[in-house]
Symmetry: none
Subunit: 224 residues, 2 copies
DNA sequence: CGCATAGTTCGTTCCTCATCGAAGCATTCT
DNA sequence: AGAATGCTTCGATGAGGAACGAACTATGCG
C-alpha cells in the first residue's frame, strides 16, 4: 500500500488490447485520426473514441483539431520510450515466437520509433558515432562530442537548431536490447534518410526499408 | 489490428494496483516472500498468491523455493528497466500529488515493513550502523561487522539465536528510496522498540509512532 | 440551407477478473 | 508423531470496464 507515481494507472491504460494497438500504430510517429485508429484497433468508432479520451486524460496522447478531423499523437518521446521498453519485455518473454516472417525481419533491421530510427542499423550507427568520438556516452547519457558540430554540418544537419528537446537521448531497442539514438538529432537523421530517399517506409508498418544504393550511402555516411 | 509482441498482455500485468505495488517493492533487487508482498500490496495472502502466479506465468517474476519460503524476484534487468520507464511516465504525467496528510507523514517517518522497521528512522539507523562498522554492506548484501555481537548484546539482542532466516537483509524503502534493515536482526530491533514502549503501532495502519522519550532513547541507542 | 462526414455522449449489456474465506499441501520445528 | 508456519487452490461474490447501437454535436460541401 505504497505511495508514489501511479504506475498501475499508466500501465492499465496500455494494458487494454485496443489501446495497445492504437499506441503501437502511433509509434510510427505520424498522428492519426480517430477513424484510422478505430480501424487499427479493430473496434467501432464509439469504442475507439472512448479509449482515446482515456489516453488523453491519462496524458499518453495529445490531440490536435484540424477542421473536422482530430489528429491523435503520442504525447512525447518519453511515452514512446516506455512503449519500446514494454515491447522489449513482451518480445523477450513472448509466447514462443513463430518463425519471424519477412516483415518481422525488416522491422528488426530498421524501423521508425516515434520520430527516429530504431533497429539493428540504428544501434550500429550509434555504436559507430560513439566509437568515432562524435558522440560521447556515459551510461544512459549521450552528449555531443567535440567534432559533432562539424561532422553533422558536413551532411547537412545542424545540431544546434532546436533547443527545446534534448539533442541526444538514448532509447532502448527491443530487438537488440541495446540503445539507439533518439532526441532531435535522432529525428534529424531519420528525416535525412527519408529526404535523401535512401529508404522508404513500408505502408501500414513501422518498418523502414533501405534501397541497395541507399544502404550503401547510409553506411558510407554513418558507419564508416 | 497489427501483430507483434503482445504488449497489452505485459502492460495489463503491471496495470493492476496490487501487482504494481508488488513489482515496485521488488525494484529494490531483493527477493521477497509471498507474505511480505501481500502486505506490501495490501491484499490477502490468497489474492497475492494469485497475482504472483500470474506474474510468473507472464515472465515478469522468477521464484526460488527455499525451505518453506518462496522468494519472488524480478525476472531481470529488462523488466526493471520497463518498470522504470513506466514510473517515469507516471511521474511526468501525474503531478497531482495531494499534500501528504498526517498519517502519510507518520508512515514516511516510521512504519512496519512485515516484521521490521521501515521509513526515515529505519534508513537513518542502518546508515549509522554501517558508519560505525557494526554492520558491513556491499551493494545489497549486509553482513555483521566484527563488533556486532557485543554491540547488540549490550542492548539485549542476541544476533545468533535464529539461524534459519538471514540475520541481515536490505529492504528498499519506498519513501526514501534507500535501504533499511530487514532479516531477523531487523525484526529483533522492532521487537525491542515495541517491547520497550518507545513507540506504539497505529491501529489498522503500518505507521509506528514514537513517544518523545521513546524517540530520544532510540536515537541514543541506534543513532549516536 | 440541406446533406454528408467526423466524432462524441449516452445507456445497456455482458464478461472478465480481483477479492477473500475455507480448505488443502508442503515444510519445519518440537 | 503432532503442531505451526508458509503458501496455493477452490469456489462464490461482486465491481469495473469494454463493447456497441442509437442519438447528438460539429464541420465541410454543394
Amino acid at each position: 500500500m505504497r505511495e508514489g507515481p501511479d504506475i498501475a494507472r499508466i500501465a492499465s491504460l496500455v494494458g487494454d488490447p485496443a489501446r495497445a494497438n492504437m499506441l503501437n500504430a502511433l509509434m510510427g510517429g505520424t498522428a492519426l485520426t480517430a477513424s484510422e485508429l478505430a480501424l487499427e484497433a479493430g473496434v467501432s468508432l464509439p469504442t475507439a473514441s472512448s479509449h482515446l479520451s482515456k489516453l488523453i486524460e491519462g496524458g499518453l496522447l495529445t490531440v490536435a483539431s484540424q477542421g473536422r478531423h482530430r489528429y491523435y499523437g503520442l504525447a512525447g518521446p518519453q511515452v514512446a520510450g516506455m512503449i519500446e521498453a514494454i515491447t522489449g519485455v513482451a518480445e523477450a518473454v513472448g509466447p514462443k515466437r513463430v518463425r519471424p516472417g519477412p516483415r518481422d525481419r525488416a522491422m528488426r533491421v530498421a524501423r521508425v520509433c516515434y520520430d527516429h530510427l530504431a533497429g539493428e542499423q540504428a544501434v550500429a550507427m550509434l555504436d559507430r558515432l560513439v566509437a568515432k568520438n562524435v558522440l560521447v556516452r556515459d551510461e544512459q547519457q549521450i552528449r555531443l562530442g567535440p567534432s559533432a558540430a562539424s561532422h553533422f554540418a558536413a551532411i547537412g544537419i545542424d545540431v544546434y537548431t532546436k533547443p527545446r528537446r534534448p539533442v541526444c537521448r538514448a532509447c532502448l531497442d527491443w530487438s537488440v536490447r541495446r540503445s539507439h539514438l533518439a532526441g532531435t538529432l535522432g529525428a534529424a537523421i531519420l528525416d535525412k534518410i527519408l529526404a535523401e530517399k535512401w529508404a522508404r517506409r513500408e505502408k501500414d508498418s513501422r518498418a523502414v526499408i533501405f534501397s541497395p544504393p541507399g544502404k550503401q550511402a547510409f553506411e558510407r555516411v554513418f558507419l564508416s
